[in-house]
Amino acid sequence: MLTISQLRKSFGTTEVLRGIDLHVAKGQTTIVIGPSGSGKSTLLNCVNLLEIPDAGRLELDGLEMGFGDGGKKRIRELTRFRQKTGMVFQSHQLFPHRTALENVMEGLIVVKRWNRSDAAQRGKALLAKVGLGEFADRYPAQLSGGQQQRVGIARALAMEPAILLFDEPTSALDPELVGEVLLVMKELTREGMTLIVATHEMNFAREVGDRVIFMENGMISDEGTPEYIFEGSRNERVRQFLSRFDRGAAASSSDSVLTGN
């Protein structure tokens, strides 16, 4: 389904991705964890070409693309590849001047050239699927963070991508809104959608991940099943990272005890 080979990306003199190899099978959920600055976001951005890799190859659903051969990518090539990937951003990035429904319809109308009524029908169905059937006519500013993120998922789904990429979809949310977004994502994995999720939600990772990869300094330094990564990783850095996490979680729950939340 998706094969990433020797992918490299630098910003200025900083090498952010230093040769990533990854294969994602259809219907699989791949979780990407790692410290901030490890290259998780850049990896996702490279997969849907929001950043153009400096070197390496991408192969997605029969479409292949090589980088670093000197030639500049044509816009047609980029848009064709991007249509096969859907992206859900950390800060939703809904179009604020369009309603929830119009946000979902936008790609269908502009890119796929559907007529309005077909697009509206599909848009409504997708909003219903993420539990927002009632909110079709609301503007993003009139929705909660969790609702905005679910509209973002519906917008990405509308294009029927081969793979959905989530860039820390719950990191910007209030804790009580995280659950509703994760629920929608779980539903997608059950339906056999192929996902790559960069996240700090370790419980979610454990529960729905088929595979977990640990990134550090622009490389995949460990990978395996959730059981392996969370319980049995032999990689010292992974254990350190996860223990910091547990302590962080413990600290924040003791905080809430102290503040009475």
Binding site: Q83, P96, E106, A141, A156
Partner: protein, 225 residues
């Protein structure tokens, strides 16, 4: 003030109302609307060129803004009207004023557009791209509608300013609102009265424009709480 003088003032006042209104309807308003409309088109082109990553587009745009903003519009107007004929370009007064106002206004408006487009987050471009849109589609469907809304207040005040600046037309012989006032003032020797009437007309129209601007802001602002 003697009664005789008061009656004369009243008489001049009554007889100036219609000619001044005509000057406004025939020249001031058409000049302003035409120049502003044209300047918006040019301003958008200049703004997009100024935002381009390609130096051969960016440099001319920046140069244009630099020259036009750095020279008084009255000087530009006089160059077009009095100096161009010496190199064989003779333009009537009306197009001269339209050109001068458009050239000047385009520079200022392009800076407003450039800054509003720039102020929109990079994330909006990425959101459009992630759906498979081309740069032009993102610009047209995502960026410009939002930029337009943000630029309504500053562009509105640009239009109000342009409306008043159009009074420079009188200096190249056009009988616009101010031009007519000047003429009548010269023949009746009542400049104070005539200029106050002209000022009142300008104020009235600018008040209407201000209200219109607020309406537009409300209409386009409906999606933000």
């Amino acid at each position: 003030m003697s009664q005789e003088r008061a009656e004369r003032l009243w008489d001049v006042f009554l007889h100036s109302l219609w000619p001044l209104l005509q000057g406004m309807l025939k020249y001031t308003i058409p000049l302003s609307i035409l120049s502003f409309g044209l300047s918006l088109v040019f301003a958008l082109i200049i703004a997009l060129a100024g935002l381009s990553s390609k130096p051969y587009l960016r440099a001319p745009a920046r140069f244009y803004v630099w020259i036009v903003r750095g020279t008084p519009i009255l000087v530009q107007l006089f160059i077009i009207f009095y100096d161009l004929p010496s190199v064989g370009v003779v333009l009537p007064a009306f197009p001269t004023v339209v050109i001068a106002l458009t050239v000047s206004e385009a520079a200022y408006s392009s800076e407003i557009m450039r800054s509003t487009i720039k102020s929109l987050s990079q994330g909006q471009w990425r959101a459009g791209y992630s759906l498979g849109m081309t740069p032009f589609q993102v610009l047209r469907r995502v960026i410009l509608p939002q930029a337009a809304r943000i630029s309504i207040p500053p562009l509105g005040s640009q239009f109000i300013s342009l409306f008043k600046t159009s009074s420079l037309a009188a200096l190249v012989t056009l009988p616009d609102l101010f031009g007519v006032a000047k003429q009548i003032a010269a023949t009746t020797f009542e400049p104070m009265l005539l200029y106050i009437v002209a000022a009142a007309y300008y104020l009235a129209i600018c008040s209407v424009l201000t209200i219109g601007q607020h309406r537009l802001e409300k209409k386009f602002g409906k999606y933000s709480l």
